[in-house]
């Protein structure tokens, strides 16, 4: 599964957000992702892709920023 697929699945499963609303420009806060849910999302992401996010990470504000962050990490892990 790609990054946006994982985000869509997570938000639907945890918050009941319809997948079609999870678009790159959507604000994560407006979709219901508060700071706790963000931690949980990052945890899930680390688990699925076997990566480790650094603890001084800048918190993404939109779905698009989150996807960029995830894709970057996955790419760097492959090297």
């Amino acid at each position: 599964m790609d990054s946006i697929g994982l985000i869509r699945e997570f938000l639907q499963d945890r918050l009941g957000v319809e997948p079609e609303n999870v678009i790159p420009e959507a604000s994560l806060v407006k979709l219901g992702v508060d700071s706790l849910m963000m931690l949980e999302l990052m945890f899930e992401f680390e688990d699925r892709f076997g990566v480790k996010l650094s603890s001084d990470l800048k918190t993404p504000q939109t779905v698009g920023e989150m996807v960029l962050l995830m894709d970057g990490l996955i790419a760097s892990q492959k090297h």
Partner: protein, 416 residues
């Protein structure tokens, strides 16, 4: 400062029968047991015990997915019961111009988020994982229930949890009552919730040899308080909530008042962790009557702690006989745990609701399965089938916990 009268304006629960409050009380009065056989798939040996579950409870439907996913089951049951009681009170969920800065929550739970921690241990020790979800702390903390309730209902006053084993919610309700009576709080949401089906918890209770045995066929009859054939207690999950409100505030907004809370007393046996002692219970009942300004002769019903353990039931009857003297023989007593089970930290809350409904309806629910009274439990008027159509003036609800903590609540009917 003069004392306020305390109105009970909201009642709500997650019923093991799946229906609403009226359905719950009706089934209790019909003597219908909610106890079933619980068979789990736990490793290394499944639980196989009589238990009271709430199989009809759908947290996503009751709370919405985003809220439900932030909670352990004990908090989900709490929140659902709290919403139900709040809606029953007629107060809007969102503050509508009313200032709620002194409105609070006092919640009882013996086990809190034990299920959440147990899930964590399984992940670590059974599945070999090295880390846990970042939500584990907020799911597991014992004050999660009251914190969620305060947030959802916009209550800016005290928000606290009480952990006193089987008397947890009696003490929560009592402490809430005192705050409304003193004028510190205009409204208090109170009650309790627990989920004793946690594997380690249920196994621990088994080890104490106080749990009644039962299979798929016999479980509904497993809990028999005061009976010569009693074999022990039956645990259950659940959540039950009450809205306690300043009487004048309730009247001013035209609220329906189910009953009046008039007294609370609590003591400790200070003698043994698990062996109850009549002296401590006698003091608790006496304190409650004095607090309520009631005489023993004013009490028309006692909802007993009555767990159906060998040791506990006769001690409670001895305490009632000591307090009520010659009146004990005609004092109606029933132990509804025979039907809804022992909900630990939610027990006193569900029994407070039963007691208030008994007063409101003029109907005493029975102790189920009490065909053969234990002579050691004789001396009070055991109610074995529901008694309808009799005006009841005032009633007590007893809760006596491991640790020796005793708490008794007193309620009065509104129209008498």
């Amino acid at each position: 400062m003069s004392q306020r009268r305390v109105a009970i304006t909201g009642l709500g629960l997650v019923s093991p029968y799946g229906g609403d409050l009226a359905d719950f009380f009706g089934r209790l009065c019909a003597g219908e047991s909610a106890v079933r056989h619980l068979l789990t798939d736990d490793l290394p040996r499944p639980l196989s015990i009589p238990f009271v579950s709430c199989p009809g409870f759908d947290p996503d439907a009751a709370l919405g997915k985003p809220l439900a996913s932030m909670m352990d089951r004990f908090a989900q049951l709490a929140m659902a019961a709290a919403f139900s009681a709040w809606d029953d009170s007629g107060l809007p969920r969102q503050a509508d111009g009313d200032k709620r800065d002194d409105w609070g929550v006092a919640w009882g739970t013996a086990l809190g988020g034990t299920l959440a921690y147990e899930k964590g241990y399984r992940e670590l020790w059974q599945k070999g994982r090295e880390r846990l979800s970042p939500l584990s702390v907020v799911l597991g903390m014992n004050n999660a229930a009251n914190a969620h309730i305060s947030i959802q209902l916009g209550l800016g006053g005290v928000s606290m949890s009480h952990t006193v084993a089987c008397a947890s919610s009696a003490i929560a309700i009592g402490e809430a009552f005192r705050r409304v009576r003193s004028g510190e709080a205009t409204v208090m949401l109170t009650g309790g919730s627990d989920v004793p089906q946690a594997y380690g918890v249920a196994r621990a209770w088994e080890a104490l040899r106080v749990m009644a045995p039962g299979d798929a066929e016999t479980s509904p009859l497993a809990c028999r308080p005061f009976s010569a054939e009693r074999r022990g207690l039956v645990l259950g999950e659940g959540g039950a909530a009450l809205v306690l409100e300043d009487w004048d505030h309730a009247v001013a907004r035209g609220a329906r008042i189910h009953g009046e809370m008039v007294g609370y007393g609590t003591t400790c046996d200070h003698s043994h962790l698990v062996r109850p002692e009549a002296a401590g219970q006698i003091r608790a009942i006496g304190l409650t009557l004095a607090d309520a300004g009631l005489k023993p002769a004013d009490i028309d019903y006692v909802n007993a702690h009555g767990t159906a353990t060998a040791e506990g039931d006769p001690v409670e009857v001895a305490a009632l006989k000591a307090v009520f003297g010659d009146g004990a023989a005609t004092l109606p007593v029933s132990a509804t745990k025979s039907m809804h089970g022992h909900l630990l930290g939610a027990a006193a809350a569900i029994e407070a609701i039963v007691t208030i409904l008994a007063l409101r309806e003029g109907t005493i629910p029975p102790t189920a399965h009490l065909a053969a009274l234990d002579p050691d439990c004789a001396g009070v008027d055991h109610v074995t089938t529901a008694r309808h159509g009799r005006p009841l003036r005032a009633a007590l609800s007893n809760s006596f916990a491991f640790g020796g903590s005793n708490a008794v609540l007193a309620f009065r009917a509104v129209d008498l």
